[in-house]
Amino acid sequence: MKHLLSAGDLSRDEAVLILDTAAAMAATQERAIKKLPTLRGRTVVNLFFEDSTRTRISFETAAKRLSADVINFSARGSSVSKGESLKDTALTLQAMGADAVVIRHSASGAPHVLARSGWTRGAVLNAGDGTHQHPTQALLDAFTLRRHLVGRRHGTDAAGQDLAGLHVVIVGDVLHSRVARSNVELLHTLGARVTLVAPPTLVPVGVEPWTCEVAYGLDDVLATGPDAVMMLRIQRERMADGGFFPSPREYTRSYGLDARRLARLPEHTIVLHPGPMNRGLEISADAADSPRAVIVEQVGNGVAVRMAALYLLLAGADRPTGETE
């Protein structure tokens, strides 16, 4: 694994290895001294062309806990204004000796362009590109699902296991969601069954080959008793540009997760949300704060998964053969 660009690039075994490595990383985070010497002397650049304090802090924390040097580079240039060009920025970072570039960009495919261009010799980690992919989000979601639904069910550590047999429902703005795209690919790779639920206006034309089912009615899908429900963020600005649904009220009525819908789910079903939440729109406050919601835990798991990804990309090649954590 030279780069981490798309969740779909990962094989089942690679994905399980990342989850297992993340489990080991998470264990170290229980200790009083959380810092590991693993990436000492390596430089990780957080290259954020799009604001996301949450994701940047998560990657920064992950890199620092592995003792890497971290450079944060915020280039707010939008793709349209081309304020700071991707190329010039990448060349600058290359001159600083970046071993890994964590890139967040509003343009779909920007990490792919960076990885292909030769502008940087470092590993490229996609931290979210446009409406395309967000692979570490999908990995942290898979990690969270495995912890709750696989480890617990079997009463053992879930190391080495995938998500075979689980049914995950993803609800909301699929059209504009990189989280949905990454999750559909990764969860399928890991053996889970995925159902997307959205109003038809928020399902992309051309969704047919995706490795999932698509439904328009949330209540019918929840009635099948899924193991997990993932609520996607609805961006209010989508309303102005396109009128994808008639009103926030109607959206909430049809697709919002509230106490009423929550109560009809099986007892073991967990609720996920990639954050930040619009309480009262796609998820009600009582659903967000219910014991089934693992949303806060997702944040902590994000650090462990990103530690694992950085470790495997940067230190992985140096590991003696046979060592498996």
Binding site: S79, L86, S108, G109, V113, R116, G130, R178, P204, G206
Partner: protein
């Protein structure tokens, strides 16, 4: 007196013969050509096995001058055209300033004459500043030295149905044609690529086929209503082919164009996010490519236009969303048409002459281009070696830009010589400067 004897050429791919060119005209064909050549001390050009075509005519070229000389100039684009086998190109109006006045079209026309590699026929804008609101002075441009007969807001669609109707009507007065870039603007806001399976996966905003087809359907009906000529630029979808086919059976005076890239490339190429494949209208699906090929073969689509759209490197050396739309095409068009249509057995070289020379000249009302290969006709000629194969190397092209989607691909056919009004602009595949002969 200048004279050239092309020996062993195969007119339209048929039986080989000798062709004598004297003072800008085809002076003799066959056995008499060689005899007459002795008297005229003609320079001999060995054309053994080469296909002789009437000089190619492009109805859709972006020469970028005035305004974007960093991408192309009339001179550099003219050289690229000659090397591609062209003797006439129509320069699109979306320059800066826009070619929406007699002054600008005459400037472009004069730059073409100064360059001297091809006849440059300026296209005039339909509306002032390409804004789609008020008609530009079509009459002044038609009556200028540039004698404009093709009007287009290409790059933008004349979306307002009333403006389009008026343009179609008004152009009748000087036998001009309105060439439409069919793109419903509201359906394509922020569009980045063909809307379908690939765009869904890549997370790029979709450019749906219906946004083209809706305008094509509207425009053929408008053309029928007012009894005008309509030309559909760069038709790219299976649905558009069907609509044009229907319109023609109804007797509507519509012509249509396909680009080489829509005959050869699909949206699958976008998967690597390489902006060389970003173009408007976008690359479509294999089903569309097949429909466009079938439409070109059966005459539904009248011509091939390159939509040669050079861009400076920085406009393609970036992320997909930031990149400019467009690809170069003058120096690869004939090879792509050979690969897509001739080598697949769907068209003959006579058909190639029809769609790349005769048809475009007729639509553009260019009297001395796209003529038969006969004695007394103007000697605008192209010699192509259909057996050659070549790898496209962007850095070695004459266009000032490198945004060819065919870079690194091996394509059949090579232009060996081009004659403009009896004078070679290309010999042995190399440019001949206008003063040199």
């Amino acid at each position: 007196m200048t004279a050239y004897l092309l020996t062993g050429a195969r007119p339209l791919g048929e039986e080989s013969t000798d062709v004598l060119v004297v003072d800008g005209q085809i002076a003799a064909l066959g056995a008499t050509a060689a005899d007459t050549a002795v008297d005229t001390a003609a320079e001999r050009v060995d054309a053994t096995g080469l296909v002789l075509l009437p000089g190619l005519v492009d109805l859709h070229t972006h020469l970028r001058e005035p305004g974007r000389e960093d991408a192309e100039t009339v001179a550099s684009g003219s050289r690229a055209a000659a090397l591609g086998g062209y003797t006439c190109v129509h320069a699109m109006a979306n320059t800066s300033p826009v070619a929406d006045t007699a002054g600008v079209v005459e400037q472009v026309w004069q730059l073409g004459r100064d360059a001297g590699y091809v006849d440059v026929r300026p296209v005039g804008a339909v509306t002032v500043g390409l804004a789609g609101e008020r008609l530009a002075e079509l009459g002044a441009m038609a009556q200028s030295h540039a004698a404009v007969r093709v009007f287009s807001d290409d790059g933008r669609c004349v979306a307002d149905p009333v403006v389009m109707r008026r343009a179609l009507e008004y152009a009748k007065a000087f036998d001009a044609v309105i060439a439409q870039h069919a793109q419903e603007p509201r359906l394509t806001a922020h569009a980045q690529m063909h809307e379908g399976v690939v765009s869904a996966e890549l997370g790029l905003a979709g450019w749906p086929a219906v946004a083209e087809e809706a305008i094509v359907a509207r425009d053929v009906l408008l053309a029928e209503h007012v009894g005008s000529r309509l030309h559909v630029l760069h038709l790219s979808t299976a649905g558009s082919v069907e609509i044009v086919r229907w319109a023609k059976t109804r007797g509507i005076d519509v012509t249509a164009e396909a680009t080489p890239h829509h005959l050869y490339l699909t949206d699958e190429l976008v998967r690597g996010y390489d902006p060389r494949f970003k173009v408007n209208p976008p690359l479509r699906t294999a089903v569309d490519v097949e429909a466009v090929r079938a439409g070109l073969a059966d005459g539904t689509i009248d011509i091939v236009g390159t939509d040669h759209a050079p861009h400076p490197r920085e406009d393609k050396d970036c992320e997909w969303a930031a990149a400019a739309f467009g690809m170069t095409g003058l120096e690869t068009a004939l090879s792509v048409v050979q690969a897509a249509m001739v080598d697949t057995g769907r068209m003959t070289w006579a058909d190639v002459a029809r769609v790349m020379s005769v048809g475009p000249a007729r639509i553009g009302r260019v009297a001395d281009q796209g003529r038969p290969l006969a004695v007394g006709e103007p000697a605008n000629l192209t010699l192509v070696d259909p057996a050659a194969r070549r790898t496209v190397l962007p850095g070695e092209q004459a266009t000032a830009s490198v945004n060819t989607p065919f870079a690194g691909m091996e394509l059949p056919g090579r232009v060996v010589a081009t004659f403009l009004h009896g004078r070679p602009t290309v010999l042995d595949g190399r440019l001949v400067r206008p003063g040199d002969r």
